[in-house]
Amino acid sequence: MKNPIMPASGTFAEEMAEIIDLNTLGALVTKSVTKSPRMGNKGPRMAETTAGMINAVGIQSKGADALCKNSVPFYAQFASPLIVSISADTAEDFAALAAQVSVPGVDALEVNISCPNLEDDGRSYAMDPHQTHRVISLVRKSTSLPIFAKLTPNANAVADIGLAAEHAGADALVVANTLLAMSINISTRRPSVGNVMGGLSGPCIKPVIVRMVYQTYKKVNIPIIGCGGICSVEDVIEYMLAGASAVQIGTYNFVNPTGMAQIIQDLEEYAIKNGISKITDLVGAVQDDSRDFTGEALAF
């Protein structure tokens, strides 16, 4: 990767090419795709909260065939590696889908085992280390591409889930998806998203996810991609110090559609200004007086 900055799944699509040069991104990450086309949830799908937003899009997907036919060739125009995010209802379906989208032009798979399956009160594979191990193992067998396991911050002990994913063969972890949340419109007395609950993202969640990256970094030996509330180069540095080898930017793309490009530029300047010759030296370098400072690069 040219740099550690990439978009977060679901907050990026082909349209972004119209406003920033996708060649500058560390990687490209698709919206989670399902095998067959899916409608997604009923609206409203989004509500703003203090320094955050709740989304309950529920994975609207054109299906894996459309992805391979249209999106993969589109992104092939750009030098940046392409990561396809996959979503399925069973471990077997995950594995089958992984095989299906392991086509030329795809550089890695992100296994979205963390989307709060909202029909089941927010549960998802990544709530449980055994389930995580099972699904990642099956995916591991069905593709030779690098696989990233995307974890949920709603789990008790994210680091343990990360460890399970590592043992099952994941090449990297994405920490993390959204926090299960809810808000209520007090005038209508209705939940503010049609699906009642949804996923909280944005700056408000950053301190929780930084903590999870930190905890996970202490347990696992594969690279961690930090994701949650990143809006500036300072946030990127904070995540790297906590243990992230790369980061994903989600909600901030809505706040500032050219934000990723700006952050990439700011990161270069930051490195120069602070005499950092290898940005990976920052990985895990928080001075918590308790662990060695070793950084792992994320490479394809």
């Binding site: 799908r45 909600t251 500032n256």
Partner: protein, 261 residues
């Protein structure tokens, strides 16, 4: 679409609830059409976090100006309202698909309510420029909230106003008025924005008179550019419901496809 950092030219109250904002930025009118919108960042910082979609109210290509007419409603529009002449405004757009005028059309009917007037105003201008006659029924709470009546008349529209305060804006009052206009003036197409009730009413008239129609729809937005699927609503594609993005597939949709506003 592009991110512009415009300069506020004016931002003034035009009624007790609405403000008129004009912004200058080189090249900003490029590709702008009636019915499209800009996604505005109402303040630096993260509360409110997201941009606010605002219809283009007026396009002034010669002066590189875009105007908005907005209802000061919640946190975002309140902060927008605090902008001063000379301030910088972060604008992303133009976004979405606007209204289209078939060259064959001679007379069109527009039905607007509240801030829907803002959205339809540039269509009236466009129609005027293309020699299409506009019959406009404008609805609002009070007479003073009917902000664009004069502007629309200047553009050549024939305008009828109805208000809640005068008791003339009920669906039952507007319904016969619309039928009369359609029948009297050989209306070729129907346009609306700003009210669910009125949209359903106009949809029924589009069916009854077999007329094409267009409606500008609103929904909460994340990206504003088609990536996130936050703004999706269901529309009727020949009997099957499809999920379309208000920001990119709209905000202007065919009236007959409207299902759940």
């Amino acid at each position: 679409m592009q991110q512009y950092h415009g300069t506020v030219l004016l931002n003034q109250w035009v009624s007790s609830r609405y403000k008129h904002l004009a912004v200058h930025a080189p090249g900003i009118t490029t590709g702008c059409t009636a019915g499209q919108f800009f996604h505005l960042r109402c303040a630096d910082g993260f509360v409110p976090l997201l941009r606010r979609p605002m219809s283009i109210y007026r396009i002034v290509p010669k002066q590189d100006e875009i105007h908005f007419l907005y209802h000061v409603k919640g946190a975002g529009t309140q902060l927008l309202g605090e902008m001063q002449q000379g301030d910088r405004l972060d604008m992303f757009g133009p976004l979405g698909h606007g209204f289209t005028l078939d060259p064959k059309w001679k007379n069109i009917l527009i039905l607007a309510r509240g801030v829907g007037l803002a959205t339809l105003a540039p269509l009236v201008q466009l129609a005027g420029e293309q020699g299409v006659k506009v019959y406009a029924v404008l609805s609002a709470r009070t007479e003073s909230d009917i902000l664009s009546a004069t502007y629309m008349r200047d553009c050549g529209a024939e305008v009828i106003t109805v208000t809640d305060e005068s008791g003339t804006s009920g669906v039952d009052d507007v319904h016969p008025m619309l039928e009369a206009l359609i029948e009297m003036h050989e209306v070729d197409a129907l346009f609306t924005c700003g009210s669910k009730r009125l949209t359903y009413l106009l949809q029924s008239l589009a069916l009854k008179y077999n007329l094409p129609g267009q409606v500008a729809v609103e929904e909460n937005m994340g990206c504003g550019m088609g990536m996130c699927y936050c703004c999706v609503k269901q529309f009727n594609h020949n009997g099957t419901p499809v999920n379309l993005r208000v920001c990119k597939d709209g905000p202007v949709f065919s009236l007959k496809e409207v299902m759940n506003l």
